[in-house]
Amino acid sequence: MRASDRVKKKPALLKDFRILESVVAAELPIAEALANAPLRASGGEARASEEFFVFRVGEFMLGVASTLVREVTRASSVTPIPRAPSFVLGVCGNRGEVFPLIDLLRFLSIGESRLSAKTRVFLCQGGGVTVGFLADQLYGLRKIFLADKLPPPASLGNVHDFVQAVVRSSEFGTLVLLWLPKVIESARQKAVSR
């Protein structure tokens, strides 16, 4: 096979019916084409991947499974709740729904977020609960290949339990992928046990 033959061909809609006949004549019969078709995708196409929502909090680049992220909004007025856990900054309203706002840095005991005009909130759904998380910067969705995921290093300490993997990325450096349902469940347990 020549190198030029390996260039991936994309499906195209034939709009000019005058050339249709000549195109069809030059093509393989469908049975022959199917006989030559590969059994599975090759190379990069076959690499299993997952989509993550990537954001920065403080100096940490974090990612969560994109399927859990429902919406992104601005950090509007936060109503503090007496006796709430320290990682719960308060409650916010969004389109008639009230949700708790969580500071991941405080939750993971690795610092403290600061609210600014640039701060964003992403709403996540987990265990039937909607929770808002603070982010200093959002990078959107990124495809992470499963083969690139590394086990979380023991040096992560307390954070280790909530990390599903670490990825070395040219774009983000070290990207920490969180188990968000675990975070939400643990936050709920901490709140109840107070």
């Binding site: 007025s77 709430a84 409650v91 009230v98 709140a191």
Partner: protein
């Protein structure tokens, strides 16, 4: 009790007040009186700055108590469909009953009788 099947024509009467710049609400039935008087003792709701008034109420055991406030914002009728329970993650405080979504702002609804004055 707030249920998911509340009718839009259901209303509750709330007393709105302010402590340290935050507005709170409480059920009208739980307030015995609103009087003047300076008492700057704080509670978990915050420490009043001016403490010009006080809400009088009875706690769970029936004892007369009061809560010092900075301002009394009147009695409001709130439609029940604008009330929300607190999310589970923060619903650890017996003092906070829920919130009133009032024109985009959240007003914490306080159970006065649970408050330790």
């Amino acid at each position: 009790m707030i249920t998911d099947e509340t009718k839009s024509d259901d209303w509750v009467s709330l007393v709105l007040f302010e402590i340290a710049g935050l507005t709170f609400g409480t059920a009208l039935q739980s307030v015995a009186a609103v009087r003047g008087g300076r008492d700057e003792r704080g509670t978990i709701l915050g420490t009043p700055r001016a403490a010009t008034r006080r809400l009088e109420f009875k706690d769970e055991s029936g004892r007369a108590q009061h809560l010092s406030i900075d301002a009394f914002h009147g009695i409001w009728r709130a439609p029940v469909n604008e009330l929300r329970r607190l999310p589970q993650i923060v619903n650890n405080s017996s003092v906070v009953a829920g919130v009133w979504l009032r024109a985009g702002a959240l007003i914490l609804l306080i159970k006065l009788e649970q408050l330790q004055a």
